[in-house]
Structures are given as C-alpha cells and as structure tokens.
Amino acid sequence: MIRLLFFAHLGEQIGEREVMWPHVPETVKQLKDEVEERYGVSLGRVMTAVNEEYARDESPLHAGDTVAFIPPVSGG
C-alpha cells in the first residue's frame, strides 16, 4: 500500500486529495500510468515527490511510501 497526494487542480479533478493505493508499482512511471488510467487525468507536466523529495520516473517505490503529484507550482 502507498499513499498518494493530489494538489491544486489535480486534487479537484480527481475529487480527492489523498488516496490509499493498494498496489505498489515498481517505479514512479508505472504508478503514473496506473493513476492516469484510473482517473483519466494527464500527468505529463506533473512532477512527483516520494516521501517529500522530488523523484524521477525511474525512481523505485516501496510499501509505505507517500507519493505526491505536484502540478506546475505557482507560489511567491
């Protein structure tokens, strides 16, 4: 099980900000594909963070990880 966080418009599109995801894919890329398919969203310009650190598509995932989907930021 991993914990998914969706922010900004992604959270609104998906209708949830936090989701417990039963499957643990091997990589961030695989998780993105699963999420895109499940929710019909595009994660093309979306960054990911695993346990609060920016991650790459090939980063590995483990049970208990928190993965945040981070749309282009607009703070400041």
Partner: protein, 155 residues
C-alpha cells in the same frame, strides 16, 4: 534563536518578524521582498487568491533554497515565510529576508530565492476573478489553465 527560518503559515505575515530572524552584527544589509496580491493582471481583475501548499515538503524546500544561498553567497542568511489560504488584494503572500555583510549579495540572493520559489516549492495559487477561477499553472505567471488541464495547449 530557535524560531524556524522557513515557514508556511495560514496567518498574516509580519515583515519585521521575518527580518529580525536574519539581522545580526556581522550583516550590514538586509534585502526583503514582499509579494502581495495584485488586483489587476493582464487586464483582468482579481477578487482574491487561494493558496494551497504541500506544507511539510514546502518548508523543506524553502530550507533547501536557504542552503543553496548560503553556499552561493557565503555569509548570507535567509528567512522565508509563505502564507496560504485565502488572501485578499494587498495581502502579503510571501516575505523573503536575506542579510549579508554587504548589499550586493543581499539583493542577488533575495532575487535568487523568489525565482527558486516559483520553480520548485510546492505551493499553488488559484485566482478568483469576477467571471470564474483558475489554478495558475506555471511559475512565470503567464499561463492560467481555466480547464484545470495544463497539458492542453491553449493558443
């Protein structure tokens, strides 16, 4: 001083409080930047803004920016507070204070901080206009995504 230097808050920001965190006898210059909610952007009137953050990670990334600054400009000390929640016109959204022995580094490091915030800190703003609202989709403030789908090319 045990007050944290890098803070996400849902309360109004005191500029003096942020400044005081970086003032010290060896610094002769403090550069401060305050980003405020502007009423008009590209001819469109903003009523208010809603800021959202991935708070725990945002504070970490702000601290990382402070570390980057200390490495690039030795002797510079940085404090940053970013507000989230609903902000009205004129409210301060972010305050960056950088102190350094001389002024050139304070200005340069401060500007570096705001550019980095707009690149990598997980904070988002939603503009509320008279005729709708949208998440602002990129850090250059040039593109909004009324559909909520940043992947769609809109020109």
């Amino acid at each position: 001083m045990t007050e944290p230097l890098f803070v996400i808050t849902d309360r109004p920001i005191s500029v003096e409080d942020v400044m005081k965190k970086v003032m010290r006898p060896e610094a002769g210059a403090v550069a401060v930047f305050a980003g405020t909610v502007r009423e008009w952007t590209n001819g469109k009137r903003t009523l208010f803004l809603q800021y959202e953050a991935y708070v725990s990670m945002a504070e970490k990334i702000l601290a990382q920016i402070g570390a980057e600054i200390a490495e690039k400009w030795p002797g510079a000390k940085t404090a940053i507070t970013h507000r989230i929640g609903r902000l009205k016109i004129g409210d301060i959204a972010v305050v960056i204070a950088v102190s350094s022995p001389h002024r050139a580094e304070a200005y340069e490091a401060n500007r570096y901080a705001i550019e980095r915030i707009k690149q990598i800190v997980p904070i988002w703003k939603k503009e509320q206009w008279e005729d709708g609202s949208a998440w602002v989709g990129d850090q250059l403030e040039t593109t909004a995504y009324p559909s909520g789908k940043p992947e769609v090319k809109e020109e």
